[in-house]
Symmetry: C2
Subunit: 189 residues, 2 copies
């Protein structure tokens, strides 16, 4: 998505070979007009997949996922990160590693809003190692529902996330795919 | 806001005299069409206040705040909850009590996206004791910016939040104001 790549080149900060900060339009501050365009782009890509719900992971996924759900005219389900184990049979829970934050959390989702005949589009801000997205897929599968696809705003293609998700047989659609990062330099595929 | 009150009566679960669960359209699952109407209503109420940015608190405030920012055509800034003290001069930080979760967290916001001449509309999902909203106000004030108003989706008017915020001299606009809760019963003002 050209407008997103241009925004990344203009405002993104490549800190080192692994870290890209996009605080000015996605993580701390959100460019909601850009998110609306992103939502419409995801909706267009997945429009023939009979999506029944969009799901996302708190909290940086929520803004783009809200506008994707609005464009598709379906509800949004929010998967939450809990530091400690949730012993509660109202929730699905999957232990998840965060490489970025170097910790482990439980990704949880209310059982009530994931139904057997749901066809879920998962939206997230970043794809790196694919831990969060594959935990989200596990939760959808625990509900007996189908993952119709995964929409990613920014993919770090030099990390193994995409390969991992594609092995699970899912359509991964990323709006910006980064081939290489270096301090001050961003290269797209 | 009539459509919101009707949704609360239809889908909200009054657990006891303090707790209202609105998991089906605001907290676990999000009715994005309703959030769009909510965003437009906040935008209409505050349209003459020269709002430069919308701010919200992760994570249930993000969906309604995204659609308010979109309706006002301004950026959104997300204030985040950190369990431990953030010793980092890139962030404003205010220690905050959560009565609901019976814990304390640090509400933080990047200094970069709050400027002296900003006129901020704070949006949040619930107003109860006013702890989160008044911490958000403190952060805006730490930046030397102005709080133009506070928009709340659901106010528990029997708790002291509104009084606390009004004493700080701010315009609080709540879309649903609950006078009384009892198991199975919700009464509006």
């Amino acid at each position: 998505m050209k407008i997103l790549e241009e925004k990344i080149l203009k405002e993104g900060q490549a800190i080192d070979k692994d870290i890209l900060k996009v605080d000015s339009f996605l993580n701390q501050q959100v460019d909601v007009e850009l998110m609306e365009k992103i939502g419409k782009e995801f909706a267009k890509h997945f429009e023939n997949k009979n999506i029944t719900k969009v799901a996302t992971i708190e909290s940086s996924g929520i803004a783009p996922a809200t506008l994707t759900a609005l464009a598709l005219n379906v509800p949004l389900v929010i998967f939450k990160k809990q530091p400690s184990k949730v012993l509660n049979d109202e929730f699905y829970s999957v232990e998840t590693i965060s490489f970025t934050k170097r910790n482990t959390y439980n990704l949880i989702a209310s059982k009530k809003y994931l139904l057997k005949d749901d066809n879920i589009l998962i939206i997230d801000d970043f794809l790196a190692n694919g831990e969060a997205s594959s935990s989200a897929m596990k939760i959808v599968n625990m509900a007996g529902a189908n993952v119709a696809g995964i929409g990613i705003v920014i993919e770090k293609s030099f990390q193994p996330g995409r390969e991992k998700l594609e092995k699970l047989g899912v359509d991964v659609y990323s709006l910006a795919r980064i081939k290489k990062l270096e301090k001050g330099i961003v290269e797209f595929i």
